[in-house]
């Protein structure tokens, strides 16, 4: 997974933090490392990008032309099982498991078979009910589907990543919420885990509703996935 992320992020123009904001970051902060620890930030950005792209297309071509394209594009994507699988299994997109994929394909085939039966007029009542379902696979993949693009997986790989969004997120949210920003060094393996610090509870269950206590500590993540306080 780390290798894959590095590949995606390697495409970005600048991975180092902008110098003018250097003071806002702890020593050794890097966008790449931060997003490797919190890959869902990248996933959220990709989803937004796809959503944005589709919204602009809709505005550009008009609603009716857009709807025609949506129908065509859905058929294309559903017919292209290989692309669907790539997107489903990729950890930064859907991040599904092999078992999930198999179940999803079964579900998809069942629905398509039922639809074919309905179209042929030989549908049972169970078939009619199944034909109306949306495939679970489809619901999960749809946030990564560019309307009007045939090979969505390649398009997703080529999408520009804005790394500034990650560093900004750290400054505005991650840091005060005690998010780890780098991997722990071997000598930090025994540092206090964040879960053992009073701030954990202070943030999880504030004394008063709506109160927020900023976490002043800096954290690293050890090999087992535990966030530990960095001793400064």
């Amino acid at each position: 997974m780390m290798i894959l992320l590095a590949g995606v992020l390697g495409a970005c123009s600048s991975m180092s933090v902008d110098n003018s904001y250097e003071d806002s970051f702890p020593a050794g902060f890097s966008n790449r490392e931060y997003v490797e620890l919190h890959p869902f930030l990248l996933t959220l950005q990709i989803k937004d990008y796809v959503n944005d792209y589709n919204a602009r297309l809709k505005k550009e071509v008009g609603i009716s032309a857009y709807n025609v394209q949506v129908t065509q594009d859905s058929a294309t994507l559903l017919g292209n099982i290989a692309v669907l699988q790539q997107i489903y299994l990729d950890p930064i997109y859907v991040g599904g498991t092999a078992e999930g994929w198999d179940a999803g394909v079964q579900d998809l085939v069942a629905i398509q078979t039922a639809k074919a039966a309905v179209a042929a007029g030989s549908a049972t009542s169970a078939d009619s009910a199944t034909a109306k379902k949306t495939p679970a696979l489809w619901t999960e993949v749809i946030p990564f589907n560019f309307i009007g693009v045939a090979d969505d997986f390649t398009a997703l790989k080529n999408m520009p990543i804005d790394s500034m969004a990650f560093s900004s997120q750290y400054v505005m949210f991650g840091r005060t919420h005690g998010w780890a920003y780098r991997a722990c060094r071997p000598d930090e393996a025994n540092n206090t885990a964040r879960n053992d610090l009073p701030i954990k509870n202070a943030q999880a269950t504030p004394a008063q509703k709506g109160e927020f206590v900023a976490d002043m500590g800096l954290y690293c993540r050890d090999a087992t996935g535990v966030d530990r306080l960095i001793i400064q």
């Binding site: 869902f40 930030l41 959220l44 950005q45 937004d48 990008y49 944005d52 602009r56 804005d162 500034m164 969004a165 990650f166 900004s168 997120q169 505005m172 949210f173």
Partner: protein, 726 residues
């Protein structure tokens, strides 16, 4: 003759601005040079005026009927247009001291036809200025409207020159110019501040040191084409001019600087649409001038000689604003629930591609121009003469806007503008080519019309002034408003200046070279090289002779040959222009106590390439004091324009039915005759008849049909008016 003098006095006083105009700037290029000079001298006595408030002016009441006939009118077309009016021009001058003066001019105009539509009549103020000669006569200033001239390559107004133009014509031309606040001098109408310093004699060596600074706003509203009421655009253009000069031993050395620029802020205060483009034009000219007159060094000789020369460098650049698509990224904090982690705040990115106002450099040109003239003038036993020979060379990339905008614009239909034509081509010719140049030169119509919702034009989105809905016209036609009347004119002159991009697009100028075929933009016309000569002779105010010869060339790209050979073919377009005029006061020659002035002139101009145009003008006239208060005025003018290669094609018609036409031949004639009666001191009755004929031969192309046809209009014009000067 008295009348003439008074008329001119009034006109010239209203035109008078106390600007320091050295070298050739003060020299009048237009009409009869000798007459003008004596008038300018008389200004001094006029200006030594009394302190306090003074009201002068001119009132004119009369009627003008123009009856037109043409085979190209349609059956329903009106053929007559009447004007019946009282027009009062009030000039209020207030002198708090002998040094400064406030000058306000107001116009009241009542059209009798609409007298009962609305009895209230607004006064239009058309001249506001504060002028003076202060600091012991060392500093002249103008604030407000003013007329300023620097040099022929910097600030100048190219004028129409018609040799020996008869009084009956000249008077009408001045009247048309006056309605637009213009005059026949080469100075330019501006509005702003002008300050000029004159040192006088310094240390007995230097005769004069001058320094002048001029700042003016050239346009702010509606001056692209002043055709639509409330046609405001946000163009904002300024002039900054400065000059210095020194005179010693009869020599003059000077430097002039003119800078014109469009301000961007006002234009940018208004949104533009995706298809709009706004151009910002900058024009800078620097010139050095040199003059010498032998009179100072050799005052006893009956003959003086000298030279005037100017070298100018120009810089012209345009940049433009337009709407271009631009990627924009905006960041915002978003909250999402992530499976297994919970609510996460992240930085969301949203990309858009809106149209944003973008600026880019568009065009830039630098050019040079040089002009030098030698003159000999003198007075040998009652014979005044002035002979000049000049050389001119101007780059095609030279541009000096304030020297290149003639006041004659033409292409308007002044009289019988209500006529309808029998086919779209004839109508299109009248819309673009307009009525004859003689009509534009000599006639003007000034109306005060009741304004109502019906004739108030507003934005294109509104069907009338009050509602965006299309409603019954009857609802608004009788609805009056508080402005009551609006003043409108049909006039062939303008004080607006042309930006280079506008001038480049004005093909019509090619078709009506009424200012000059070879120098349509005056001496600053780009891409000209050649020589000019002129002679003016006046024998004891009895016989006048004028002669002009211009031989100029223009580089000319022959596209026909270019296409055939495949390599650029640049040739020369040679202009040959000559004119001569002769006038004789038979009354003075025969030693009678009255003026019997007979005048005539002939002028011809042609070019060897381009459209192969050829213009011919024949002028004849009579101005005679017949008996007692009666004077007879008559004039004849024939003007013919031929385009051997056809004129520049004009595109017209509708989207469904487009067509092109070009005019290859225009023949115009104006015959005028009239009687002027002196009713009392400064009061005159004038009765005039005029016949104006205009015949245009044109070819047209409507797609499936091509052909040649003609448009011929004859107008009979009767006018009677009483003029009182006070």
């Amino acid at each position: 003759m008295n009348f003439n003098m008074n008329m001119r006095k009034i006109l010239l006083t209203s035109a008078f601005a106390l600007s320091a105009t050295a070298a050739f700037a003060a020299e009048n290029q237009a009409e009869v040079v000798t007459q003008q000079k004596s008038l300018l001298e008389k200004l001094d006595s006029l200006n030594a005026a009394v302190l306090g408030l003074k009201i002068n002016g001119k009132a004119k009441a009369g009627a003008l009927a123009s009856m037109a006939s043409s085979d190209q009118f349609n059956d329903e077309s009106p053929t007559q247009e009447n004007q019946a009016f009282t027009d009062v021009n009030l000039r209020l001058t207030a002198r708090p001291s002998s040094e400064t003066m406030i000058d306000v001019q107001l116009r009241l105009h009542k059209d009798w036809q609409s007298a009962y539509d609305e009895n209230n009549n607004p006064i239009i103020g058309h001249w506001f200025s504060y002028d003076g000669t202060i600091l012991n006569k060392h500093v002249d200033f103008n604030l407000g409207y003013m007329r300023v001239g620097y040099t022929p390559l910097t600030i100048y107004t190219p004028q129409t020159e018609i040799l020996q133009e008869p009084e009956i014509f000249a008077e009408k031309r001045r009247e048309a110019l006056e309605k637009r606040n213009l005059d026949t001098t080469s100075r330019r109408l501006l509005q702003g501040l002008n300050v000029a310093y004159q040192s006088g004699n310094v240390a007995g060596v230097v005769d004069n040191i001058t320094a002048q600074l001029t700042g003016a706003r050239l346009r702010n509203t509606a001056k692209k084409y002043d055709q639509v009421f409330f046609d405001f655009d946000f163009a904002d253009r300024y002039l900054l001019g400065a000059r210095v000069g020194v005179d010693a031993y009869g020599a003059h050395l000077g430097a002039n600087y003119v800078n014109l620029m469009d301000r961007k802020l006002p234009s940018r205060s208004k949104d533009i649409t995706e298809t709009d483009t706004v151009y910002y034009d900058k024009n800078m000219v620097f010139s050095a001038e040199l003059g010498f007159d032998s009179k100072k060094l050799l005052p006893d000789l009956p003959i003086t000689f000298g030279l005037n020369g100017e070298f100018a460098m120009s810089k012209w650049s345009v940049d433009r604003d337009f709407m271009a698509k631009s990627k924009q990224t905006s960041y915002s904090l978003q909250q999402k629930n992530v499976k297994g982690i919970g609510d996460v705040v992240y930085v969301g990115i949203s990309q858009s591609e809106p149209y944003v106002r973008t600026n880019e450099d568009y065009r830039e040109q630098d050019g040079q121009s040089i002009y030098a003239s030698l003159f000999v003038k003198g007075n040998v036993s009652d014979l005044d003469f002035n002979v000049e020979a000049a050389y001119l060379k101007t780059d095609s990339s030279f541009w000096s806007e304030l020297a290149s905008s003639p006041v004659y614009q033409g292409h308007a239909t002044i009289l019988n503008a209500n006529a309808f034509y029998n086919n779209p081509i004839n109508a299109a010719i009248m819309e673009t080519f307009g009525a004859s140049s003689l009509e534009n030169l000599y006639y003007n119509v000034y109306n005060s019309t009741t304004l109502q919702a019906y004739n108030l034009m507003t934005s294109e989105n509104l069907s009338n002034a009050l509602s965006s809905e299309v409603e019954a016209a009857e609802m608004f036609a009788r609805l009056d408003n508080n402005y009551k009347n609006g003043h409108y004119y049909r006039n062939g002159y303008t004080g607006n200046t042309y930006k280079k991009l506008e001038a480049e697009k004005d093909y019509l100028r090619d078709l009506d070279p009424s200012v000059s075929l070879s120098l349509p933009f005056g001496l600053a016309t780009p891409d000209r090289k050649g020589i000019m000569a002129k002679v003016d002779v006046n024998w004891a105010d009895k016989v006048f002779f004028n002669g002009r010869v211009n031989m100029l060339t223009q580089t000319y790209a022959d596209y026909d040959k270019w296409l055939k050979s495949g390599t650029p073919v640049i040739e020369e377009n040679k202009f040959t222009e000559f004119a001569f005029g002769l006038g004789a006061d038979i009354g003075a020659i025969a030693a009678l106590d009255r003026q019997i002035l007979v005048q005539g002139s002939f002028a011809q101009a042609k070019e060897s390439a381009y459209l192969k145009r050829k213009t011919t003008r024949i002028v004849a006239g009579l101005t005679a004091d017949v008996w007692g208060p009666f004077a007879l005025l008559a004039g004849f003018q024939q003007y013919k324009k031929v385009f051997d290669k056809g004129g520049a094609p004009i595109y017209a018609g509708t989207e469904e039915l487009p067509f092109t036409f070009f005019v290859n031949d225009a023949s115009e004639r104006l015959i005028m005759g009239g009687l002027r009666v002196k009713l009392a001191s400064m009061s005159y009755l004038s009765l005039q008849y005029g016949m104006l004929t205009n015949e245009l031969q044109y070819t047209y192309n409507v797609g499936e049909a091509m052909g040649a046809d003609k448009l011929s209009i004859t107008k009979n014009i009767l006018s009677a008016d009483v003029t009182v000067n006070f």
